[in-house]
């Protein structure tokens, strides 16, 4: 199995890694049985022109190199985007941005988009509650 250079870069030096205090939303996906657990924190701000957008984003991931790299990449892709735009990010976008993933890694390690979407849903839910 061969990882692209990009995957290895994001694995060894992941972007936006860490915890966020007082996030607007949090999403966690995955399952220890298959090996990958991902958590994404977002901080949402309002902008007059853009509307609601992701001002800051962080991740924590227990998983293989590919899981860490996809987490890192999804934070790059989402940062600065409006939440509508961020909802449109797919696992294929993440894989493409990493110059591809080995076929067996497409499923269980490529959940970062879901974690992001969960975080956005979590944010929306919190709006309704308040």
């Amino acid at each position: 199995m061969q990882y692209s250079k990009k995957v290895l870069q994001h694995f060894t030096k992941p972007h936006n890694q860490g915890v966020m205090k007082n996030p607007s939303g949090v999403g966690m996906v995955g399952n220890p049985v298959c090996g990958d657990l991902m958590k994404i924190y977002i901080s949402v701000k309002k902008d007059k022109q853009k509307g609601e957008y992701i001002k800051d984003i962080k991740f924590e991931t227990l998983g293989c190199a590919s899981a860490i790299a996809t987490s890192s990449m999804v934070t790059d892709l989402a940062k600065g985007k409006t939440i509508e735009e961020a909802m449109e990010i797919t696992r294929n976008d993440v894989a493409d941005a990493l110059d591809g993933l080995p076929p067996i890694k497409m499923h269980c390690s490529n959940l970062a988009d879901e974690a992001l979407h969960e975080a956005i849903k979590d944010y929306r839910k919190s709006l309704i509650k308040n």
């Binding site: 049985v33 090996g35 657990l37 958590k39 924590e60 991931t61 998983g63 190199a65 890694k105």
Partner: protein, 409 residues
């Protein structure tokens, strides 16, 4: 560049230079087919005979009880399927469906062979669960034996956790049962996959009480693609590969003369150096275990510490996934192995680690480091040093997601 550190001797070993030297003449000069009558053939056959003698010396059996194969996978397949074939070849019309006993943590080539005959409806199977230390209990095995049990396959040393199974005790039990069964009834054939045991343990077949024993050359500093099956004289077993009359008609196919010569030399070296090498390797292993357990937090050693191969370590590190760990070590030129599913393309974590009761994430976070005769203390110290740095990094990335996951459940 520093020299790469190889800590995966249970996967395979480098060919010993002496072994290579012994093999070389049989490629271009003495290249004959061992079944040919002319002098080229005779030379090749002499070399095969010498290798067979070396094997017989090592196992304390007669040369005609040694069948050369392409490796332990073939030997194990032949053992399982060949004995079953012999069972069904009996004259009696109303044969009971036979019963096989094996363990849940055998190598895949044994498990899959047994599953294959089970699926075909040719046998019913009991899979024994080892205890949490990675040992098959003889009492469990004894309880599982039925009147239609004809085959027991228990590995000598587990390839992932290095635990040593009570083969001699099982051998005694089988012998006792076979004596009471009498000569008229199909006996229990006892097979052991000794692939990981050859380097370090007593393999006298009479002491072990086995009818069949599998092994492979590439785990003992010999070449890949050659191995052997010991078949005790009189054991009911049929060939499964048809063709020529090689190997006492048990295994058709032109002899892999160079490979067999290499295996013969490798086993000779094991016999000569075993006692000395064992001590050295065990000291290094104990040093490695001690260092990891004392210097790294949140770690466990998988498998019994005492009933363990001198070359094996297997740890689980909390909040880390094995593939990333392996890859990070590889970037530092350190080669190991893991029971994580995701490094191999398999769908679930190591069946061995799960069978001894590890949770999936503990199996995913496992690292097997197996040492060998070229391992040095400096290499072990370097490895632990790098390992600490890598674990700190990966644990920072995973944070507390695992705890949170369980808190939510």
């Amino acid at each position: 560049m520093t020299k790469p550190i190889y800590l995966d001797y249970a996967a395979t070993t480098p060919v010993d230079k002496e072994v290579l030297q012994a093999m070389l003449p049989y490629f271009c000069e003495n290249f004959g087919n061992a079944m040919s009558i002319h002098s080229f053939g005779q030379e090749a056959m002499q070399a095969v005979d010498q290798a067979r003698q070396n094997m017989a010396d090592f196992f304390s059996c007669t040369p005609s009880e040694v069948i050369f194969t392409s490796g332990a996978t073939e030997s194990n397949n032949l053992a399982v399927k060949g004995v079953l074939k012999a069972y069904y070849a009996q004259a009696s019309k109303n044969l009971l469906k036979p019963h096989i006993i094996t363990s849940l943590f055998e190598h895949h080539c044994v498990l899959d062979s047994v599953r294959a005959v089970e699926k075909e409806g040719l046998a019913e199977v009991t899979y024994l669960r080892p205890d949490k230390n990675g040992l098959v209990r003889v009492t469990d095995l004894e309880k599982a034996i039925q009147s239609n049990t004809i085959f027991i396959s228990i590995m000598y040393v587990n390839n992932e956790i290095g635990t040593v199974q009570p083969i001699g005790k099982i051998g005694k039990l089988v012998k006792k049962i076979n004596t009471t069964r009498g000569a008229q009834v199909f006996p229990i054939v006892f097979h052991t996959d000794a692939t990981q045991a050859i380097n370090y343990f007593d393999c006298h077949v009479e002491t072990l009480g086995v009818h069949l024993l599998s092994m492979s050359a590439h785990k003992i500093y010999g070449p890949k693609g050659v191995g052997a099956l010991y078949i005790k004289k009189g054991t009911p077993i049929r060939k499964v590969q048809d063709g020529g009359d090689q190997e006492y008609k048990m295994r058709a196919g032109t002899h892999n003369v160079t490979g067999i010569v290499g295996l013969g030399k490798a086993i000779e070296l094991v016999q000569k150096n075993q006692a000395k090498e064992n001590k050295k390797i065990q000291l290094l292993r104990d040093h490695l275990i001690e260092k990891v357990l004392t210097e790294i937090p949140q770690v466990r050693l998988n498998g019994s510490k005492t009933h363990r191969s001198p070359n094996n370590t297997n740890f689980s590190f909390a909040s880390v996934e094995g593939e990333g760990l392996l890859l990070s070590l590889d970037m530092e030129q350190i080669s190991c192995s893991t029971g994580s599913a995701c490094s191999s393309g398999a769908l679930s974590a190591s069946h061995v680690l799960l069978s001894i009761g590890l949770r999936p994430e503990e199996a995913h976070g496992s690292l097997r480091m197996t040492i060998g005769k070229f391992t040095t203390k400096a290499e072990i110290n370097t490895t632990v040093k790098k390992l600490k740095i890598i674990l700190t990094r990966l644990r920072k990335i995973s944070g507390s997601v695992l705890d949170e996951y369980y808190a939510k459940k």
